[in-house]
């Protein structure tokens, strides 16, 4: 392996690592606030990438049906709850959010798709379609189980992943898609040819992380989320509604997932089931960070990207095996380091 190849592998690893870092952040965020191990995080990536790819082909992405359908289900559940609580005035707002908005976005997509308006418009439309899926999923699958144990929520996550993957197959079919790069040119940095797309990925990652940091440090909603993550009951007692925290966390997660999908779409071909593996690798990063520290999670994800890059050079067919087998000693190290003695057992 020459220095040039090594540098190229590093660039490749850092690019994918930057995306895994975003995923790791989203996973950590959702886990801290809602105690959900959010396996379907990777599926947002598939959804966004496939939606963008379809738009670039000039076709109407089938994910608008998912948006509309999800909105309808949420509207139905909320309406039933509103009627049971004898608050019919809520119905207007429920209909607006659950029925009108998704329908508007769907109509917009229908109109815009064949006209192939530039990259920026397509990205905006993809975001508009995929990001609302997060709070919808929360409302349908997780909010009724807000007090369940971590394991039950984990099983629900697997069920949700199962369902979303199936829906993605129905909507987009079995073929993979790859979108056009945001910018095509490459330029030289010393011996290294750096692709503009890679730079975009890293810049966008950094921008996301900075935005998240600002959000958590400076804004009231961000602080409310942090409070819920640290102590749920305490947060409720001071008036922070748990459902709001959950929805916000899932909204951020789907936003990050959608952005990651848009970033990764030009780099690799994305299929309907790529999401699981990508999400799990982001997971490895989050676990390296001890499921508690954002900077460590980002660094961990970067390490995973680099490892994958080098493993694919040396033993490309076994790279998945290598990456996942290495998760286990990391988990072991993590659980030894954060040893907290259980004197009282969990509630049944």
């Amino acid at each position: 392996m020459t220095g040039e190849i090594a540098l190229w592998l590093v660039q490749d690893g850092v690019t994918t690592g930057a995306i895994y870092a975003l995923l790791a952040l989203a996973l950590l965020l959702v886990f801290a606030v809602t105690r959900v191990i959010f396996v379907p995080q990777g599926d947002y990536i598939s959804m966004a990438a496939l939606t963008l790819g379809t738009l670039q082909l000039g076709a109407v992405p089938g994910s608008i049906w998912l948006l509309a359908g999800g909105g309808a289900v949420v509207a139905a559940i909320d309406a039933a709850a509103a009627l049971r609580a004898k608050a019919p005035r809520r119905l207007v707002r429920i209909a607006l959010i659950g029925l009108v908005l998704p329908a508007a976005v769907a109509a917009l997509a229908w109109w815009m798709a064949p006209r192939k308006f530039g990259m920026a418009a397509q990205i905006a439309l993809t975001l508009a379609i995929v990001v609302p899926l997060g709070p919808m999923l929360y409302r349908i699958a997780y909010r009724p189980l807000a007090n369940a144990s971590v394991l039950v929520l984990f099983i629900v996550s697997m069920a949700a992943h199962y369902m979303i993957t199936g829906l993605a197959l129905v909507i987009f079919g079995g073929e993979g898609l790859r979108s056009n790069a945001i910018a095509d040119f490459k330029f030289d940095v010393g011996v290294l040819k750096v692709g503009a797309q890679s730079l975009w990925v890293m810049l966008a990652s950094l921008a996301c992380m900075t935005a998240l940091w600002l959000f958590f440090e400076k804004s009231l909603y961000g602080k409310a989320l942090r409070a819920t993550a640290i102590n749920r009951i305490g947060a409720r007692l001071v008036g922070i509604p748990t459902a709001l925290s959950g929805q916000l966390a899932f909204l951020l997660a789907s936003a990050i997932g959608a952005i990651s999908g848009i970033l990764i779409a030009p780099i690799t071909t994305i299929y309907y089931d790529t999401g699981l593996m990508v999400g799990l690798k982001g997971f490895v990063g989050a676990i390296l960070g001890g499921m508690g520290s954002y900077p460590l999670a980002a660094l961990g994800a970067l390490a995973v990207g680099l490892l994958e890059s080098f493993a694919s050079f040396w033993a490309s067919t076994l790279k998945e095996t290598i990456v996942f087998t290495l998760l286990i000693p990391v988990l072991l190290w993590r659980s030894l380091v954060s040893k907290h003695v259980a004197v009282e057992d969990e509630e049944e």
């Binding site: 394991l151 099983i155 593996m277 286990i328 993590r334 009282e344």
Partner: protein, 607 residues
């Protein structure tokens, strides 16, 4: 309150299950009868379906014991199925081995892998463990798909069928016999396992492992045993899979298969052995039916079953955590309540030391939690045949001292001796073996087990029959003795009329008495009781005080933490007073009551 009733019905099923009452035996006989006649009555398609259900049941059974009972959620069982299937397939097609040789090799390899993987990952707790199971499931799946000797993604073809003494098993019906024979044996063995000394320990693993350790159970070893057991079941299923289908490919052993198995366990109800059959049957049948029906409803192609199953699982988990078996069990005729255990000779008892000899010596015990000093320089000595009270305001560190002495917490300094032997730094199960038993401040019972079984856990170290003996049912004599002993202790604390009820259904005060009975069932030298009288009514407190007095007369030494001064003053021989982790005073009750430091710190504000 239909949900609570459902919960109690579920409790009843599980409790009844554990005692194997006559109703359950009739149900099992009916099930076996149906199994036997099915291949003669049903057309080929359904026999094939039943074959698949049988294979899945084997794997899900292991999952039920691991996940539902012991709390280890695993998404990686399919890896073991795959390892066994590929081993026997490879050996048969590449090296010409007979399928029976393949069986031995498969199970050996599966056991070795399970030992290795389990040893590394079972130290992880809760969700970390589940994530690890996904990780090695995926790692092994990609191994299958990439090794060229294993045919990569096209798999291995032309695997020879199994033959028993010249009878070649190569039709669906013949395979049915082999598959369901294995499955029925496995179900029986699992049911026997859960209804035994090991079974009680396994049931305590999920939420009460600290309590189990304090009763002498080696929880880490037991978890490994169950893990290997579940892996071996999956291995048998893999071997059957290879020789029934005559073809293996990686697709059957991917993450989706792992998710399917877990779904089956959850649908059937991961708490009961029957859940494995129910869940496997429902998921398999539903999948087949949906594969037929859904494509006709929707024009596009796709795996609609996954969508439906995902939705189904989410809805199911939102409505019930216990799966469908408890709901189905309500259709069975109500079983008669289980009989009380017959009288049997007591297991061997410990010799008691002479009264007055120092039994438990604590010297300068220390404990820090980060910067907080919870226990500092605590020293006292508990003599044979005496009751020592440990009192102090809330937060004084009394329960911490208990946890340090019993080995639940590691100390930062100091020496603890039990009957002359040093016990500081040793795990709680070793200390239990030396003769120390304790109760807990927050009641630590397995709510779904009966009072009898909960108390019988206390006698764990007085028995010796392990998991194999349990499955083969050769442990009945010892089991009878252990249960009779547990029954005796229950009568002793006055709960004889509640012996067969679920422990979780009793009021808190009586649950504390169960804890005491459990500690007594260990035949201890020293009894550590953490606030035993809390939650008891006046008459119950009197009865408890009399019981403790009788125990003292019989030679038992008791260390007691309590808040109720009236209860304590009339009962104990000596008192040790703690405040802010330090020892304030030690002496006779009358002296303590007059001690100005104690009065200032404590006695002013108690009932």
């Amino acid at each position: 309150m239909p949900r609570e009733a459902a919960g109690h019905a579920g409790l009843a099923v599980v409790v009844g299950q554990s005692q194997g009452g006559p109703g359950m035996n009739r149900a099992m006989a009916a099930f076996v009868a149906l199994l036997v006649v099915a291949p003669f009555l049903l057309p080929d398609f359904y026999v094939t379906l039943l074959d698949y259900i049988g294979l899945a049941t084997l794997v899900v059974l292991g999952l039920v014991v691991m996940t539902g009972v012991a709390g280890i959620v695993s998404f990686g069982q399919q890896a073991f199925v795959g390892i066994a299937a590929y081993t026997t397939a490879g050996l048969a097609t590449l090296a010409g081995w007979s399928p029976w040789g393949g069986l031995a090799a498969s199970l050996a390899l599966v056991a070795a892998c399970a030992l290795l993987i389990g040893f590394v990952t079972l130290r992880l707790s809760g969700h970390y463990l589940s994530i690890a199971t996904i990780a090695w499931g995926i790692a092994i799946y990609f191994l299958f798909g990439t090794l060229p000797q294993l045919g990569q993604y096209s798999g291995i073809d032309n695997i020879p069928p199994v033959s028993i003494a010249g009878w070649v098993i190569d039709t669906g019906r013949e395979s049915y016999a082999v598959i369901w024979f294995a499955t029925a044996l496995a179900l029986l063995a699992a049911r026997n396992l859960l209804d035994s000394r090991s079974g009680r320990a396994i049931r305590a693993l999920r939420f009460r492992s600290v309590m189990a350790e304090s009763c002498g159970v080696d929880t880490a070893a037991l978890k490994l045993v169950i893990f290997v057991y579940a892996a071996l079941l999956a291995g048998v299923a893999g071997w059957l899979h290879a020789h029934y289908l005559r073809f293996v490919s990686p697709h059957a052993f991917g993450v989706n298969a792992g998710i399917d198995y877990l779904f089956m366990a959850v649908i059937g109800g991961a708490n009961s052995v029957w859940g494995a059959v129910v869940g496997s049957a429902i998921l398999t049948v539903l999948k087949e039916w949906l594969k037929d029906v859904l494509p006709k409803l929707f024009s596009a192609t796709g795996n609609y079953e996954t969508i439906v199953f995902g939705l189904l699982m989410m809805l199911l988990l939102q409505r019930t955590r216990d799966g469908l078996t408890p709901a189905l069990a309500r259709w069975l005729p109500a079983r008669a309540p289980s009989p009380r255990p017959a009288d049997a000779a007591a297991p061997a008892r410990r010799g008691r030391p002479a009264a007055g000899t120092p039994l438990l010596e604590v010297e300068r015990l220390q404990k820090r939690f980060g910067g907080l000093v919870a226990v500092k320089d605590i020293s006292f000595s508990l003599r044979g045949g005496e009751i020592l009270g440990l009192i102090g305001p809330n937060g004084a560190g009394k329960s911490t001292v208990f946890n340090l002495v019993s080995g639940t917490l590691a100390s930062n300094g100091g020496v603890v001796r039990l009957h002359g032997q040093r016990i500081d730094g040793r795990p709680s199960r070793a200390i239990a073996r030396l003769g120390l038993a304790r109760s807990f401040q927050h009641v630590n019972l397995v709510s779904q087990m009966s009072v009898l079984e909960n108390v019988a856990i206390g006698a764990h170290l007085r028995g010796a029959k392990g998991t194999l003996a349990a499955m083969a049912r050769t442990d009945r004599d010892e089991e009878a003795r252990l249960l009779a002993e547990a029954a005796r202790q229950i009568e002793r604390v006055g709960l004889g009329s509640h012996m067969m009820e679920a422990a979780g259904s009793l009021p808190l005060g009586q649950q504390r008495l169960i804890e005491i009975a459990r500690a007594l069932a260990a035949d201890p030298l020293v009894l550590l009781l953490d606030e035993p009288a809390a939650g008891l009514r006046y008459a119950e407190k009197r009865a408890l005080a009399e019981l403790l007095g009788r125990l003292r007369v019989e030679g038992l030494s008791i260390l007691l933490v309590e808040h109720d001064m009236e209860f304590v003053m009339g009962l104990v021989d000596r008192l040790v007073v703690m405040d802010f982790g330090e020892q304030l005073a030690e002496g006779l009750p009358a002296e303590i009551q007059r001690n100005p430091a104690v009065i200032e710190a404590y006695l002013g504000g108690i009932e």
